[in-house]
Amino acid sequence: MTSSSTGKPDTSTGKPGTVPVQARPGRSGLNRTVKLVAGALLALVIVWIAAAGSNHLLGLATVALMFGAISGAWAMAGGLGGLFSLGHAAFFGIGAYTTAFLFAGHGVSPWLGMVAGVVLAAVFGACTTWLSVRFRVRGSYFALVTLAWAEMLRVIVSNVTPLGRSNGILVPYKAEPTFADLQFSDPRAYYALAVLYAVVVTVIFMVVKRTRFGWRLSAVRGDEDAAAASGVDVRRVLVAVMALSAAVTAAGGTLYVQYMQFIDPELAFSPTVSIDIAIRAVIGGPMVALGPLAGSGAMTTMTEWLKMSVSDSPAMNVLLFGVAVILAGRYFRNGLAGIGASALQWIGRRKERHDGS
Amino acid sequence: MPLLEVVDLEAGYGQIRVLHGVSLHVERSEVVAVLGANGAGKSTTLLTVSGVVPVSAGTVRFGGEDITSLPGHLVARRGLAQVPEGRGVFPQMSVEENLVMGAIQERSKAVRRERLRRAYDLFPKLGERRRQNAGSLSGGEQQMLAISRALMAEPSMVMLDEPSLGLAPALVETMFETILTIREAGLGVLLVEQNAGEALEVSDRAYVMEQGAVVLSGPAAQVKANESVRAAYLGV
C-alpha cells in the first residue's frame, strides 16, 4: 500500500486502499506472512488477557475491543465509503438507549433490544445520509451535518421523561443473570462477548471490502461522477453503507450499555463519543480491517500509560489524541496500518537489494 | 538575449503529462502566436511559464534569469503578466477594484491613480463602468478589463490566452489592435489563439503545437503559407 508519507502526492485522494500493482517478488508473500503473524499475535494477546489478566486489565480490554469494533463499523462508512462521520454517537446512542429503555422499563431481553436498536439506527442512518447525499453534502460538510444530527438526538433524549431526561437510564442488574439478559457475573464473559463482536465486525468489514459492493464503494469514493457514469447507483451505495455502519454501531451500543449498566445523554450522544469513535479508526487506519482495532488498542494503552506515569488528568489524553489526529491528517493518512505497510515496503526493498547483490 | 526563453518544458497535472518538451522564445517588442487545436497544451504552456502549474523538466528564463522553479506569485512580480483563459476577472469586484488588483504590488496610491487613468484612456468604456461589478460586463468588456488589469502591473511581457474567444467580430478587431499597441510600448506578447488567421496577421512569429509539443515554428508569413497549417487551422 502506498501512503501519503512517501512524499509523493496521491492524486487519487481518499482512496489509499487501492494497492498499485508492483511486480516486486516476494512482497505480497511477505505481506501475507506479516498479516498472519499480526493476527496470531493479536489472538495471543486476547487469549492471554482472558487467562491471566487482572479484572482491571480485562475491563480495559473489553472497552477497547468494543470501541475498536464500533470504530471498525465507522470505518465501513468513513473509510471504505468516504463518508467521514462525526455523528456516530447517534447510532451508538440509539442502540444503547433502545436496549436500556426496553430492558429497564419493560423487561424486554437485550437481544431483542439489540435487534430493535439495530433497525432503528439503520433507518436513522439511511434517512439522514439520504438527505445529505441527495443534497450533495459531502466531505467536511457531511461531517458537520452528522455532528448536528447527533446533537439533535442528544437534545431530544435529554428532554424525554421515559428516557430519564438528562439523568439517563440505570440498567438493573438481575440477581441471577442469564444469557438472555446479556448479563454475566464473570467479567470474562463480557470480554468474550467483546471479542466475538470485534470478530464479527472485522469479518463484515472484510466482506464489504472484497465484494462487488466494496468495489462500488471504492469507485464512488474515487470519483463519484465516473462511478455514476459506469452504472453505479451512487446514492444507494452510500445510503446502504451508512445503514450497515449504523446497524453494526448500534449493536455495539447494546453491548456497551449492558456492560456498563448505565447510559445518559452525554455518554451516548455527546460529540466526544463521535470523535472518539472516528479517531480510533483514523489513528489505526480506516481502510484496513484490523486498523480500527489497532488504533483502539493503541489509544487505550496510551491513555492507561498516561494515567499511570504522567498525569491522571483526562486533558492530557485529549491533548495527545489531538496531536495524533493532526499527525494522521498531515503525514499518516492511513494511520498505523499505513505506517506498518510503509515499513514493510521498506524492509522488502532492503531485502531485495540484499538478495540482488 | 530573448525576453522569455522556454527550453524543453515538460509539465502536467498529477500523473498526466501534458507538455512533452516545449521550446519557444519571445523577444521584446515582438508578438508571438501559439496555434493549435484544443488540448494541444497551449494553455498549460502559459500556466507553466507563469508558475501556476509546476514544471517537471526543462527551463524557463525570463529577462535572463532562471524562473523555472519560481512559484506563480513571484513570476508575476517579476513583470511577466498573463491574461488567463476565460479572462479571469474577479466577478464580484468592481471594474476599478479589478484594475487595482493588477497594481496590487504597487503600494503608492499616486502611481496607482496614474495607471488607472491610463487604463481608462486606453479603454474609455471601462471608465464609464468603473463602479459596476466585473461580472456584469459583456464578454468584450471583460476581455478589455482583463488586458488592462494585466497592464496595470507595468509588466515587460504579457501572455494572452484566447483573448478573442467569444467576442463579436468588431471587438476582435479592437482586441488585436490593442495587442499591436502593447507591442509598440516595447512589451513582448505571447498570444495563444484558436483564431489562427487573425492571430497570424498581428504576429511576428508563430509556433504550432500538437499533443504537447511544438511541431512547427517560424515567421508568421512562413507559418501562414504552410500547407498543413492552412488545412488544419485556416480552413483554406
Binding site: R136, S140, A143, A148, N159, I275, V325, I326 | Q92, I104
Partner: protein, 287 residues
C-alpha cells in the same frame, strides 16, 4: 399567547443572534476563501472566552474592551494555524483539513482544561445588573452591549474586506485563485490572513459571550453549531449574509423557547437547518 413572553423571547433571540452572527462571519470567511470548514472554530470561540475571563480577573477592565484583545490573540493564532498546519494539507481533498482542524480543536479544549480546569467561570461587567425595557419585556444591558459590539466588529471586518488591499486580496483569491496568483498574490499568505481574520471573529464572539454564558472548556461547541447553521443559511462566504443569518438563527431559537421547553428550543434551529438544506440544495454548499 402572552405578549410579554413573545417580546422577551424574540428580543432575546435578536440579542443572542448577533453573537451567533459574528461567529458565523468568521466561519463563512474561512470557508469562502480557503474552502475549509474550520472544526476548531468552536474551540477558538471557547479560548476567546477564557482570554477575556482571565484578563478580566487580572485587570477588571470592561470585558467588551477585552474582547478586542482576544480578537488580536485570535489573529495571531489563526495565522499560525493556517500557515503552519492547514496550508500543508490543502489540495489533498477535504479529509486533511478536517483531521487537522479537529485535532487542533481537541488540543485547545485539552489546554483549556489543563490551564483553567473544567469548573465553570463567569465574567460580570460593572453594569452586569442593569436592565432596560422594550415594551413589556426586560433585557440586561450586558446583552445589548454584546450585540452592539458584535455589530461593530462585523462592520469593521466588512470594511477591512471592502476597503483595504488585504481585504481586496482576500476577496480576489476567493473569486479566482489562479487569476489572483497571476496578480502576484501569494495564495498561502492570503489563506493565512483569511484564517487569521476568521479566528479573530471567533475569539471576539467568544470574548463577548464570556459575559453571557458560563465559561467552560466545552462552551464553544453549541456556539459553533449555531454559527455553522447561520453560515450555511447565509450562503457560506458572504459576510453580511452570515451575520443576518445569525440573527435569524437567534430568532428561531427565541421562537423555539416559546414553543418548546428548556433545551428543546435548539431543535427549531436544527429544523431550520434541515429546511435550508432542502430549500437551497445547490446554492448552499457551492463556493
Amino acid at each position: 399567547m402572552d405578549w410579554q413572553l413573545v417580546t422577551q423571547s424574540l428580543g432575546g433571540g435578536i440579542l443572542t443572534g448577533s453573537v451567533y452572527g459574528v461567529a458565523a462571519v468568521g466561519l463563512a470567511l474561512v470557508f469562502g476563501v480557503v474552502g475549509v470548514v474550520n472544526f476548531a472554530h468552536g474551540a477558538m470561540i471557547m479560548l476567546g472566552m477564557y482570554v477575556v475571563w482571565y484578563l478580566h480577573q487580572w485587570t477588571s477592565l470592561d470585558p467588551f474592551l477585552l474582547s478586542l484583545v482576544a480578537a488580536v490573540v485570535g489573529l495571531g493564532l489563526g495565522w499560525f494555524i493556517q500557515y503552519v498546519l492547514v496550508n500543508k494539507v490543502m489540495g489533498t481533498g477535504q479529509e486533511g483539513p478536517l483531521l487537522v482542524t479537529v485535532g487542533i480543536s481537541l488540543i485547545f479544549v485539552a489546554v483549556a482544561e489543563f490551564v483553567f480546569s473544567s469548573n465553570p467561570r463567569s465574567v460580570k461587567p460593572s453594569y452586569g445588573d442593569a436592565t432596560f425595557s422594550v415594551g413589556p419585556a426586560q433585557f440586561s444591558v450586558t446583552r445589548l452591549i454584546a450585540m452592539l459590539a458584535a455589530v461593530a466588529f462585523t462592520l469593521a471586518l466588512h470594511n477591512v474586506l471592502r476597503k483595504t488591499d488585504l481585504g481586496r486580496s482576500i476577496r480576489a483569491v476567493s473569486q479566482n485563485r489562479t487569476a489572483a496568483q497571476l496578480m502576484g498574490l501569494n495564495v498561502a499568505t492570503v489563506y493565512a490572513a483569511a484564517m487569521a481574520l476568521g479566528a479573530a471573529s471567533a475569539f471576539f464572539a467568544g470574548g463577548v459571550s464570556a459575559s453571557l454564558l458560563p465559561v467552560t472548556p466545552n462552551a464553544g461547541l453549541s456556539l459553533m453549531l449555531m454559527s455553522f447553521v447561520a453560515a450555511v443559511l447565509g450562503g457560506l462566504g458572504s459576510i453580511r449574509g452570515a451575520f443576518a443569518a445569525g440573527i435569524i438563527v437567534g430568532l428561531a431559537e427565541g421562537a423555539g423557547a416559546l414553543l418548546l421547553e428548556g433545551t428543546l428550543k435548539t431543535l427549531v434551529v436544527f429544523a431550520l437547518f434541515v429546511l435550508v438544506l432542502l430549500l437551497r440544495p445547490e446554492g448552499v454548499f457551492k463556493r
